[in-house]
Every structure is written in C-alpha cells, then in structure tokens.
Amino acid sequence: MSRIGVFICHCGENIGRTVDCVRVAHNLENVPGVVHSIDYKYMCSDPGQALIKQAIRELQLDGVVVGACSPHMHEKTFRKAAAAAGLNPYLCEMANLREHCSWIHEDRERATDKAIGLARFMVEKIKYNRPLATIRIPVERRALVIGGGIAGIQAALDIADGGREVILVEKEPSIGGHMSQLSETFPTLDCSQCILTPRMVEVAQHPNIQLLAYSEVESVEGYIGNFQVKIRRKARSVDEIKCNGCGECQKNCPNQKIPGEFDRGLGMRTAIYVPFPQAVPNIPVIDRAKCAFYRGKAKGVKKAVCGKCAEVCGPKAIDFDQQDSFVTEEVGAIVVATGYQLYSIGKAQESETLRGYGEYGYGAIPDVIDGLQFERLASASGPTGGKILRPSDGKEPKTIVFLQCIGSRDRAKGIEYCSKICCMYVAKHAILYHHKVDHGRAIVFYLDIRAGGKGYDEFVRRAIEESHALYLRGRVSRLFRNGDTICVHGVDTLSGEPVAIDADMVVLATAMRAQPDIASLAQKLSISYDRHGFLNEAHPKLRPVETNTAGVYLAGACQSPRDIPDSVAMASAAAAKVLGLFSNELLEREPLIARVDQLACTGCFHCERVCPYGAIERKQLKDGKGRVIKIVAEVNQGVCQGCGTCQATCPSKSVELEGFTDEQVYAAVNAL
C-alpha cells in the first residue's frame, strides 16, 4: 500500500479562481494509497516547499503529487524539494492544473472535476514510479576533429585551448582547406593566407593537438564519451619524422609539369610535392600515379627508373616502400568539419540528377573559368603572382563577365538550394578585378543579390558604385567563341532586352556542394544527411551544431553552404559543446531511458529498427555452462534518449521506458 502525499496549489488566484482547490484536496484524500492531501496558496514558494518536505519526512511519503502548473515550469523545483527531504526525485510528479485546466476553463464545477481527474491520473501513475538514479557514463576527455579546413582548425584550437587533447584528421597532405586557396576575403578584403596561415602554424605547434594530415577516418565504434576511432594514415612515401622540409626533392623531381590541384590546374607541380608553400605540415608527398619510380615499377621494370628525390634528400626521408598504416584513438566527442566541394561545371556529373552546364563550354573554351580559379589568379601566391591574366594567351582581360548561381537555385540543373556565398565572392571578384585592372569592365549576371550579413550589402554596393561593376538581372543562355573573345548571350530581365556581350573572360560562380564521399562518413558516425548530402543537425533551430548521434557535432560547410565567419562561429559553438561535455569526468544523464526485460525478449529486434539513435545492441544470453540461450536486445545507456518508440513497437512489450512504463500509463488510463 503506497503512502502518497497530494499537494494542491492555488497559484495565488491563477488556479484557485476557477478550480476549487479545497474540494480537489478533499476528494484526493479518499483515494486509496493517499495518506496526506492538502492545498496551499503557493506550493512553489519556500513555505510551500517546506510543507512538502515536512510531510515527506513526518509521514514517510513514498510518492508526491503536486497539483500546480505545468511540469515544464516547476517539475525540477519540486523534484529538488523531494530529494532534499530524502525522497527519490523520480517519485515526485506534477499534475498540470493551471495551463491545462484553470487557465482554459470558466465553469468552476467542471474545471474542478477535471482537476480531480488530472490529479488522479498522477496519483495512480506514481504508485508505479520506481526510484531512479541518474546515469553516469565515464567520458574520454579527448576530441576528434575531422577536416582541417578553417572550421576544423578553429574547433581544434578552441578545444585545445580549453585544455583538452584533440586529434585533427585531414585527408589532404596539408591542412588549410579551401580558405588557403582564396586570395582576399569579403567583406573586409583582408588576405586569406595572412589570417589563415598563423592559425595553421598554431595547430601544428599546439601541445594539445595531434595533427594527422594525409589521413582518413576508417571506422568509428562506441558512443558519446567513449568512441573508438580507427584512422588510416595514407602512405606519403616520405618519412614525416626524418623530413626537414628543405624542398630539395621538389627542385630535383624530373616531372615538373603536373597541373596542380591547389592552383586548380592553372599552375604546375612536381610528382613529389608540397601542395603550397605554407603547407602544414610542410612535408612533401609523392603522387604515385605520376611519379616515374612507381610507374616504372608498375610497368614491371626491374631497376628503379628514377630516384632523384631519394638521392638529393639529406635526411634520407624518402621511403618508396611506405605502406598505409592504421592508428586507433579513444575519444569522447567528434567534430565533423569536412567542408564542401565545388559544383563541377562540366558535362560529367557523379549523379544523374545533376545536368552540368554544357552551354558554357567550360573546359572547351579556355577563358571560361570558375570562381576558385579566379581566386588563384587574383592571389599573390597564385600562378600569375596575383595578376589577372587569361589562361589562353596570358593577356589581360579588359572585360570579364561573371555568372552567378552556377549549380544553385536551378531545378532544371538539379540543385534548388542557394549556395549563399556566391553573391559575395562575385562582388569581391569584381572589386579585386577593378583594383588590379584599371578600366577593366566587370559585368555580373545575377538572379537576386543575397547579401545578408554585417557589411555585406555595403560591400556589394561598393562593387557596383566604386568598382563600377555592371549588374544585369538575368541568365546567360550560351557562350560562343568569337575569335579570341567570348560572346555572352543573355537577357537583362529588367529592361527585358536580350544582350550579347563580347568578353575576354567569363567567370562562373559555382555553388558549394556536399563532399562526394559524405554518405560513407555519415554511416560510420550513424548521422543523417539531406538529399543534397549536407549533414543534418539535431534540430534546425535549437540544436544546430549537434547531430542525432550524441557526442557528434558539426562545424562549417559540411552542414550547409557557409562563409568563413559562419563556419568559424559554428566551429567555436561545436567546441563549446565539446568542452561542456568534457567539463565532468562522468557524463550525467536523466535515467528516463529504455530497459529490456531480457527474459521475455525474443530478439526480433523491431526495437533496433525503430530506434532513432541506434541505442539497441545485441547481447548473447548464456546459461550457466556458457552456452548461448538466445540473443536479446540491450539498451546502451549512453545512447538512448528516451523516446520510447521501442516499447510501443515491441510486440511483447519486453522493453520498458523508465518514467513512462506500461504499468504507469495503464494505471493512469485505469483512473479514467
């Protein structure tokens, strides 16, 4: 027989006005199991709470029902009070007599009857409440950051500065990401390299950061606070310890004419190379597909075809036999900052929903380039040393036409979303062009100008008013070669006139797209992604940097198109989340999670199918002699979030959600 105390709150007049609290208290008095039932003006007030504590102590209550406001308002308050009096907080429940009763009804009689009913629900429910203990999971207070772009760098530094170890994994030979390729940045036009390089160096030197460049995440096991991550360290063919980054190998590499990725094919690199001078780590890697030594071996030539780099290498760091190796790291949290790729303009598209832009002859017409190539041309460290010159003949373009929304906001081309950054970088290009080529004519075809952001719209105005960029609202249908110029056929929808412009160069403002291999990474982390391949946040408004896998966070353009400030802000936010998680050795969680009755469980694993968090694990049930009797479901306490979908789905109800068990709901329904 339970000993339940009922405490009905008038909430001043709020409840008392329409609900006869005295009658409610009296009625509940006669309910079997109730040993104490009173009403009071303000239960949440100190004297109110004192009444509850006192009753718990003096009457040895084993359950407390507070009829007051919404539990969202005061559940914590009253549970704390109960705990203070030595009652397990989960033996205290609230009946919502205010928001769900007094505030929405006028008829005093019926409101009171309903209030009695609501309180009754809770009295019956609480008879089946179990004392629950907060769940504590040990946390491995080290973080993994995937991706060494600006977002990854920022997150890594913030966490490291917070005093926690970070493992930063970058798949390219150097960190830096797309930002390292940019010339200047909008809206301030400060030089990208100048602000990025110091951060990169900081990463390399930070005692709390372990940088694993030219590496990729192979597999992820475990759950929040306790991930085991296997990382593949791709073979550089160069010993990272021995190499001193002198660069002799590159000078002497016979193969000097390889279109460089970093310069988007506008500049050349060698077979053994460092992607760019400021690379971190400053250690070269051998491109085995291009290197004479490996090609020779592939052809089956016995003696080494080439070994120049090895010959000239002082510290003998070249290691032609190096193989991929693996390391496994224990981490408590993971920040995903894998960034983006650019829309590939050509006809070849990895997905058949994407159409490409054959009509712009990218690849066929040499002076049709994309935005990032323009960045390289404009960059002081770029192939032209910062001069804007045509790839075809190295002449200075007098007229450049910029086309916005290439690969974005166009259903016909397979992408609806807005890439967010293009309006701004085109404005930047126009301004840079104006700076570098006087009397240069910049013409921009746009659909809309999206310049939301601090100083952004001003920046666009500046492109138009100070740099005299001509903005035409409309699309371009086709580019034609016209001698050594490009004839741009488009339409100015504001004047309604078709326009044909002879341009020396055309720059396509290509959109941000999700990384091509995102699906496999998402599966490793069991996080979801939208149909464009951008990773999904846990909640679009309230949990923008979390994912639906606890302990995995997002930063930067892997979640959606983002510019640098947004990415950095998000990275810091993710870092804050990680540091918050790391603030305790033990991770505390509400014990309102699912529990499997393994005797009754048949192991059909419907629960596994419906669990949004992958919290269901398979466990072998063994008999005394260690023989497997059956395989049953088990709930991972660290992962379960307590939605209870498993229980409603379980045909035999062999899994229970603490706090909302079948017995509790049944009892409440019984009280109808």
Partner: protein, 353 residues
C-alpha cells in the same frame, strides 16, 4: 422407471415451442454460421425449424452450457482501505438440451464426480440442476469416433433425461429420470406408448466406430502407470503446437483459471475462465520456472490425467470418445493412434510378463 412414448415430429415441435414460449432456454444442434463447411454447433434456438437432427458432431461439446468459457464469480469495489464484494447473480436459467449426442451427455456425469468431490462446485451443479437433457441416438460417426473403446456407444443413454431413438416419422423416447418425467408430464396423456417394447436393434454405427480403436482402458492405465518417463512422449509430442484447442472442444476437460479483471482503479470482477494444460503458461511459476518444461511433459499430462489419474481416483476415464480433439487438431495429433500404440505396448508387456 421405464416410461416410453412415441413422439411424432410435430408433437416434438409443439413441445419445443411450448418450452421456448415458457421462457426456457432451449439448446440444440444448429447450423454454425460463417463457416465454409457444413458444420453444427449447440446453440439456443428460437424455433424447432432451426434444429439439425442429422449431420456431424457439433464443433464444440455441450460443456459450455453448464460450464461457460468465462463467468463472473463476483465483483469488487475498493473503498478507502476496505473492499466491498458484490456477489454476481448467477441465475441458473431453466435449460432444455434437445438432440444432445450420447458422448456429450455422458460427459456431464463423468465430470460431476470431480465437481462434487472434495469441494462442491455450486455453479456447476446449479446449472446441471436447471438443465434437462434429451439425448438422441447418434446419427453420424466418422473415423475419429471411439466411444465404444471408453465404454460408451452411439446408443448410450448415459447422462440423458430422455433418450430419443428415431422411429417412423418421429422418435421413440425413453424417459429415464424424474426431471425427464416432469418434462413429459403435460404431454404424457396425449402421446401414445410405443406398441412394441422390443429393444431397438443396433444401427450399424456401433460396429463401425468400434473398429476405429480396440483397446481396454484398464490396459492403457496399467501401461501409463509404469511409463511416466518413456521416449514415447517426446516422440508423439513433437508436432503439438501447444494450443488449447483439444481441451476446449473436449466435453470432459474442465480445467479453469481464476482472474481478477480490473474495470477501473478501485473496482473489477473476479472471473473464472476455461484453461488448458497444453500451453506452457498453464504451469509457469511466477519465478519463471516451469515444472512441465516442454511439450512432451505437457502432452503426457493430458493423457495421464484422462487415462490414469482420473480412473485411479474416480474409476473411469475422463474421455467419452467423441474424437473432437482428433478432428480439431491442426497439427494432426491423433489420440486414437496414440491410444492404439499404448494399447499395443501394454499387450506386449502383458504377454512378456
């Protein structure tokens, strides 16, 4: 008592109409609805026309007339910390069963023994008392019948108040009990006595169904007594799905379960429901331990109960050979085959000793 009457078809109809209009519950074999095969069931009738005298054995036995699948024992209501009991008015309605098959009628007498043994089950006897049974000579037997093997026959009048034998255009009725006589009273005068008192000669049915199973219950019992642990059980129980169908259609099975069924927080009813020994749940302890751990043990219990324990205590087998368990089993469990096998083994054993 040896009262006999010739009852014409129309006379019988009159009797039935009178009973119905007198507010009595009249149960008889009728066509069973929503079944794609020609099947009968015992059910209340509103007019004599509904009654099927011929045709196969009704799907379920007469048991449920006296012993319903579920019945309320009492209701309860909790007030503060005490409980109020409201007795359930188990009014025993006057009932007349017309066209009962011998194997069903006989079952009542057999079960009477256990129902009135150490504790007298008032619900059972209350209904028994209020029920008059008009048995009819069995019109139809098949390969699953074996009443002769358990000491009955298609013409057995056991448990009957009247026994009806078809005779030209109607029935020759033998009135066998006071209850029967009371029922006859209003018509005693106008219905003629049969002219020849000669015992009706047996129809071919007796010999036909006798061929289905030739065993002596006693020899079965003797074997069972010595073979609680016998590989036979594991072997025969393999195909058993462990449902309660055989027990629920059996006229003699009488196990029940008592449950308290809440109808709200503070009130509910205590009911007794049919139960059966084949489902594992029957003997499952709260601890999770089950003394009859597999189907072999459960099936053995069924046979032992019917053909060993019951005769040991009450002197006769708990089976009337109606064969329903054989017909109804979707897994092809065949009591006849099993009893035959046991009989054979018993013979051998006997010969051996």
């Amino acid at each position: 008592m040896n009262i006999r009457r010739m009852i014409g078809k129309t006379d019988l109809d009159v009797l039935i109409r009178d009973l119905i209009s007198a507010g009595k519950r009249v149960i008889a074999p009728v066509r069973c609805g929503d079944s794609q095969h020609e099947a009968l069931e015992y059910a209340p009738v509103r007019s004599p026309a509904e009654i099927h005298w011929a045709g196969p054995l009704p799907l379920r036995s007469l048991k449920e007339i006296i012993f319903p699948p579920t019945e309320t024992l009492f209701g309860w209501k909790q007030v503060k910390s005490s409980v109020e009991i409201e007795a359930n008015p188990n009014g025993f309605r006057e009932t007349v069963i017309i066209g009962a098959r011998p194997c069903d009628a006989a079952a009542f007498e057999i079960v009477d023994r256990v129902m009135g043994w150490d504790y007298r089950d008032d619900l059972w006897f209350g209904r028994r008392q209020a029920t008059t049974i008009l048995t009819v000579a069995c019109p139809h037997g098949d390969e699953s019948c074996f009443c002769p093997a358990v000491g009955l026959s298609p013409e057995s009048a056991r448990g009957a108040d009247w026994f009806l034998t078809p005779a030209d255009g109607g029935f020759e009725a033998a009135i066998l009990t006071q209850k029967g006589e009371a029922l006859l009273e209003p018509y005693k005068a106008q219905w003629p006595e049969p002219n020849n008192f000669s015992k009706q000669q047996l129809s071919g049915l007796e010999s036909k169904v006798r061929a289905n199973l030739k065993v002596q219950p006693e020899s079965i019992r003797q074997w069972l007594e010595k073979h609680f642990d016998d590989p036979l059980w594991k072997h025969v129980a393999l195909r058993c799905h462990g449902c309660g169908a055989c027990a629920f259609v059996c006229p003699a099975c009488h196990c029940f379960d008592i449950v308290d069924e809440p109808e709200g927080i503070d009130r509910g009813r205590r009911r007794r429901n049919w139960d059966a020994c084949q489902p594992a749940l029957f003997t499952l302890h709260g601890s999770g331990h089950n003394p009859r751990k597999d189907q072999a043990a459960r099936f053995r219990q069924r046979i032992m109960h019917k053909f060993n324990y019951y005769p040991a205590r009450f002197g006769e087998v708990l089976c009337t050979g109606c064969g329903r368990c054989v017909r109804v089993c979707a897994a092809g469990m065949d009591l006849i085959a099993i009893l035959a096998e046991i009989g054979r083994r018993s013979e051998e054993a006997g010969a051996a000793s």
